[in-house]
Symmetry: C2
Subunit: 548 residues, 2 copies
C-alpha cells in the first residue's frame, strides 16, 4: 500500500464525522472549485464527501500511476492492451483532421480510418437517397443490425439517443440475443423487400450473431422465393468485420464488407464502421458530429491538467467512492428519455473494462475495481428504486445527467424534469432530520405518540454523494463528448488500479462450457459424467422439456 493510499485512508477517516453540507461552509468557494467544463459538458462534483485536500491526494494517486504517460501511450498507439499485444486506438477513429499520419506496425491508421469513413458514406448515402435497392427493386426502409455486446449496445444506445436526428423514412432495429424471439419479433415488423441486414462481428464467428444471420438469410430466401440467393445476399446484407474472408464465405459482396481492426475494442467500436447503423439512421453529417464531440473530449483529456480534467476528476471521485468509501455500485440516472439505454451501455463499458482482479503484470489485487453500474432514466427511477437510495442501509454514489433544453419542448414538462433532477441530488445530500419532520407532523394533526412512532421512518440520513453532468442539449456532438467522457474515466481508473482495461478473458470460459453442453441439448449422444450433478440434471430436465 502506497503512502498516498495510506494518506487517503486517513483522510477518509477524518472526513467520516463531517457532512457534504458542512464542506460548503468550510470552503466558501467550493462550488467554483468543484465544477469543471469541457467539450460542451459541465460537471458539478461538489456534492461528494471530499474536500480540496482529498482531491489533491487523489490526484497524487494518478501522478504515481504515471497517468500522463499512460494517456500518451494510448493515443500514440502503443500496445497498452498487454495481454493481447494490441494498441487501443478508438481515439484515432475520431481524429479526423489529423495532419500527421499515425503509423502502427505497418499500418497507416489515419488512412484506414478515412477510407473506412468514405466507404461508409457511399453506402449510407446510397440507402438514404433511395439509390440502394433491394433485390426486387424497392428502396430500403428497414435497417436490422445483427450484433451483440459492443456491436449492439453502443450503436443501439446512440440510435435511441439521437432519434430526433433520424430520418423518418428509415426504421432501425437491433437483434442481438440468440433467443429466437428477438429475431422473430423484429422480422414481424419488417418487409423483406425493403430490409437491409448489417452483420457485425469482429471475428465473424460470434455464435449469437452468426446464428441470427443465418436465420435472417433463411427468412429472406423463404419470403423472396423467386429471387436468386446471390442477389438476395448482395442487396440485403452488409458486414462489419475484421475477418472479411469469412463474410465473403457467408456470401456477402466484398463491396459491402466494412473493416474492423484489432486495435479497436468491441466496447469502443461505435465510432468505427460498427456504427454504420447510426449513420444509416442519422446520416453522415450527424455521425461526424458525434465523432467530433468525442474528439473535443479527447483533446481536453490529453491537454488539461488533472485538476481541471473532467474524465480524470470523474475517475478520481469514483476511486474515492469505491476504494475509500467502499461503495460497490454506481447508479447512472440520465434525466432524458432518449438516454434510456445509456445505463446498459455504460454497464458494458465499465464492467467489462475494469471487472478485473489482477494487475497488468498478473498480480492479484487487494482492492476493489469496477462497480456494478446500473440505473434508469429519471424521473422514472424516483418511483422505483430511489427509496433505497434515500433510506437503504448503504449509501451509493449517483451520476445525474441532464440536458438543459428539451428536444420536444411542451408546457412545463422540461422545467419539472429539471426541478426533479436537482431536487433528488439535493435530497440525497441534505436528507431530512427530525427537526424538520416533527413540526410538519404536528401540523398534520398527529398525536405525540403517533409522531414518536412515525418519526424514525421519515428520517433520511442524507450525506449521499452525487455528480451532476449538464449539457445544453442532447445533440450528436454532445453525446459524443459524453460517451468519450466515460470512456476516459474508465481508462483512468484502470491505470490507477494497474489493470488492463482492454481485455476480457473472463468471458472465455462460458463459451467453452457452452460448446460442451450444447451437443447434449441438440440431441447428440454425449457423456455427461464429467459434469457436476446440477448441470447434468438440468440438462436432463431440459431434454424432457418439463421442469418436474
Amino acid at each position: 500500500m502506497s503512502q498516498t493510499w495510506q494518506n487517503l485512508l486517513e483522510h477518509k477517516h477524518k472526513l467520516a464525522s463531517t457532512s457534504i453540507y458542512s464542506l460548503f461552509e468550510q470552503e466558501p468557494n467550493r462550488w467554483r472549485k468543484f465544477t469543471v467544463s469541457a467539450a460542451g459538458l459541465f460537471l458539478d462534483y461538489s456534492k461528494n464527501l471530499i474536500d480540496s485536500s482529498g482531491m489533491r491526494l487523489l490526484s497524487q494517486l494518478a501522478e504515481e500511476a504515471d497517468l500522463k504517460t499512460a494517456i500518451k501511450a494510448m493515443f500514440s498507439g502503443e500496445a497498452i492492451n498487454n495481454t493481447e499485444w494490441r494498441p487501443v486506438l478508438h481515439t484515432a477513429l475520431r481524429d479526423l483532421n489529423r495532419k500527421q499520419d499515425l503509423i502502427v506496425g505497418k499500418e497507416n491508421i489515419t488512412r484506414l480510418v478515412q477510407n473506412s469513413l468514405k466507404k461508409m458514406e457511399q453506402s449510407v448515402n446510397a440507402v438514404r437517397l433511395g439509390k440502394w435497392r433491394g433485390a426486387t427493386g424497392k428502396t430500403i426502409s428497414n435497417i436490422v443490425n445483427i450484433g451483440i455486446g459492443g456491436s449492439h449496445l453502443g450503436p443501439n444506445m446512440v440510435v435511441e439517443a439521437l432519434k430526433p436526428y433520424a430520418s423518418p423514412e428509415i426504421k432501425s432495429y437491433f437483434v442481438s440475443n440468440i433467443d429466437s424471439s428477438d429475431l422473430c419479433e423484429t422480422l414481424k415488423k419488417c418487409d423483406p423487400e425493403t430490409t437491409l441486414f448489417i452483420i457485425s462481428s469482429k471475428t465473424f464467428t460470434t455464435q449469437e450473431t452468426l446464428c441470427n444471420a443465418n436465420s435472417a438469410r433463411t427468412w429472406l430466401r423463404e419470403k423472396l422465393p423467386k429471387i436468386a440467393e446471390k442477389d438476395i445476399i448482395r442487396q440485403h446484407f452488409i458486414a462489419v468485420t475484421a475477418r472479411p474472408e469469412r463474410a465473403e464465405e457467408f456470401g456477402i459482396d466484398t463491396r459491402n464488407i466494412f473493416p474492423f481492426w484489432d486495435w479497436v475494442g468491441g466496447r469502443f467500436s461505435l465510432w468505427s464502421a460498427i456504427g454504420i447503423s447510426i449513420a444509416f439512421a442519422i446520416g453522415m453529417d450527424n455521425f461526424r458530429a458525434l465523432l467530433f464531440g468525442a474528439y473535443c473530449m479527447d483533446q481536453h483529456f490529453l491537454t488539461a491538467p488533472f485538476s481541471e480534467n473532467m474524465p480524470v476528476i470523474l475517475a478520481l471521485v469514483g476511486i474515492w467512492h469505491i476504494n475509500f468509501c467502499h461503495m460497490h455500485s454506481l447508479a447512472v440516472l440520465p434525466y432524458d428519455q432518449y438516454l434510456s439505454l445509456f445505463p446498459a451501455y455504460l454497464q458494458q463499458l465499465d464492467m467489462e473494462s475494469n471487472g478485473k482482479s489482477v494487475t497488468k503484470d498478473g498480480k492479484p489485487l487487494d482492492y476493489a475495481t469496477a462497480p456494478v453500474v446500473w440505473g434508469s432514466v429519471g424521473t422514472n427511477g424516483q418511483h422505483a428504486f430511489h427509496q433505497l437510495l434515500m433510506q437503504g442501509t448503504e449509501p451509493l454514489p449517483v451520476d445525474f445527467i441532464l440536458p438543459l433544453q428539451s428536444q420536444n419542448p411542451l408546457g412545463e414538462h422540461h422545467n419539472l424534469l429539471a426541478a426533479n433532477c436537482f431536487a433528488q441530488a439535493q435530497a440525497l445530500m441534505q436528507g431530512r432530520s427530525q427537526k424538520e419532520i416533527i413540526p410538519e407532523l404536528k401540523e398534520q394533526g398527529f398525536t405525540e405518540d403517533e409522531i414518536k412512532n412515525l418519526l424514525p421512518h421519515k428520517i433520511i440520513a442524507g450525506n449521499h454523494p452525487s455528480n451532476m453532468i449538464l449539457m445544453d442539449k442532447l445533440t450528436p456532438e454532445r453525446l459524443g463528448s459524453l460517451i468519450a467522457l466515460y470512456e476516459h474515466k474508465i481508462f483512468v481508473q484502470g491505470v490507477i488500479w494497474r489493470i488492463n482495461s482492454f481485455d476480457q478473458w473472463g468471458v472465455e470460459l462460458g463459451k467453452k462450457l457452452t460448446n460442451k453442453i450444447a451437443p447434449a441439448l441438440l440431441g447428440k449422444k454425449t457423456n455427461l459424467d464429467a459434469l457436476d450433478q446440477s448441470t447434468r440434471e438440468l440438462i436432463k430436465i431440459y431434454n424432457q422439456k418439463k421442469p418436474t
Copy 2:
C-alpha cells in the same frame, strides 16, 4: 444479535474454506435436496455456498421472526403496513374462487375484487370486440397507459413478456416520464381517432401522470378540433384511481373510472385494475390465467413447510448472501427476450420494498437490507457485464431464469440459449484453474514465458453462487407464478429483517424539494438564499439554458 445469527456467522466462517463444488461431494444427494418445485416453477439452488445445516439455521431465523404468523397476517388482511395503518392484500386480488368473504373494516374485499374484474371485463371486451368507439366512430387500436412506478413497471413488463398472447389489432404503449420526449415519441405512433388513454394514479395527483394526462388531452383537442371536449374525454380516457372524484374533475366519465384501494401497494398493483392495460393487450382469459398462476404460488407459500417453500428458500438464500457473505447486489438474468423488462420491474419490487434502515418499530438496523437489483436478458449480458461476474474483485449472486420451450421455435436457437444459460451458471461455480489453462496455452503454441505472463489473466476463481429458475414455457400462468414468487421472497426477507416492506417514506423528500425548486425554474420570483450553493448555482445555469 440473536444466537442463530451468531451461529450463521460462525457457519459462514466454517464454509469460507470450502467450495460449492466440494459441497456436491460432501452431500451426494445435494441436488435433490437443493431443488424444489411449486406452481409450475422449478428452483435449483444447489449452486450456492451453503449446505443443509446452513439452510436449517437460516430456516430458524425465519421461525424466530415468526414468519408463519406474519404470512397469515398478510393474507388475512391485518394492518401489517404499520406506518400507514393499512392491510396489504394483493393476494386477495388473485383469490378468485374464494368461498368465504374477506372483510376488512367495513369492506368486503372479495366483492370489491370481483366487481372490479367484472367492470374491467366489460371495457376490455368492448374495446377488443370493436364495440368501444373513439369520438369519431372508429374502433380503438392504440392503448396508451399513462402512469409511473407501480402504475407502469408491472403492466409494461407483463405486456412485453406476454407479447405472444397479445392481439395484433391492439398496440400497447406506456408513458411514464415527465420528460416530454416520452409522450411526444409515443404520440407520433398513435392516431388520435383510435387511441385510448389509461390514466393510472392511486391519488390522481402524481405529478408526472397528471402532467402527461393534461398534455394528452391537449393533443386530442388539437387533433380533433371539431369534436366537443366532453366527447373526447368520454371516448378516449379511462382512469384507475383510489380518488375517483379527482378523475371526474379531470372530466372522465364515472363508467370509465376503475377502482384502486389503499390495501394494494403501487408495486403490487398489476393484479388490480392497474393491470387493465395488460387485459386490453392479452384479453381477460389470459389476464385471469396470470392471476391464477400467482394464486397457485400464494397457496404454495401459505401451506408448504419452510424447507420446501420456494419463496422462503429464495429469501433465505438471499439473506445468506446479503447478511453473511456481504454481497450487496443481485443480478437477475432471464434467458428470455420477452423478459427484458423483468430486472427493471424487480428493481422496484425489491429496492422500494426493502430499501429501509429502521425496524417496523423504528429502531435503526445494524445489518444490510435490500440489495441493488440489476441485470438484463441473457445471452446479451454475457457480452456486456459477465466479465465482472467472472473476474471482478467481488463475487455477486445471480438468479438465472429460463423457460424450457421457446415461444418462437427456430432452428437451434433455443437449444443454444439454454446451453449458454447452464454454462454460465456452471462457469460461475467451477471457474478455471491454471491446471486447465496451461496445457491449452501450450497447445496454442505459446512459449513458457508467454504462458507465465498470460496465465493469471485467464484464471477464474469460481465459487460464485447462482440460482436457476426453470419453467416449461413463459405462459400467462407461469409468469403469474414467477412474479408472486419474487413478491413473497421479498416479503419474507422483510419479515426476517423486521422492517416494513410496504411503505416508502424515503421518496417524500424529493417531492417536497421539487416543489420548492420548480417555481424558480418556471420563471417565478423565488428566494434561493435558503438553498445550498450547488443547487442554487445549478438553477441559475438552468435559467440561462447554457451550462457555461
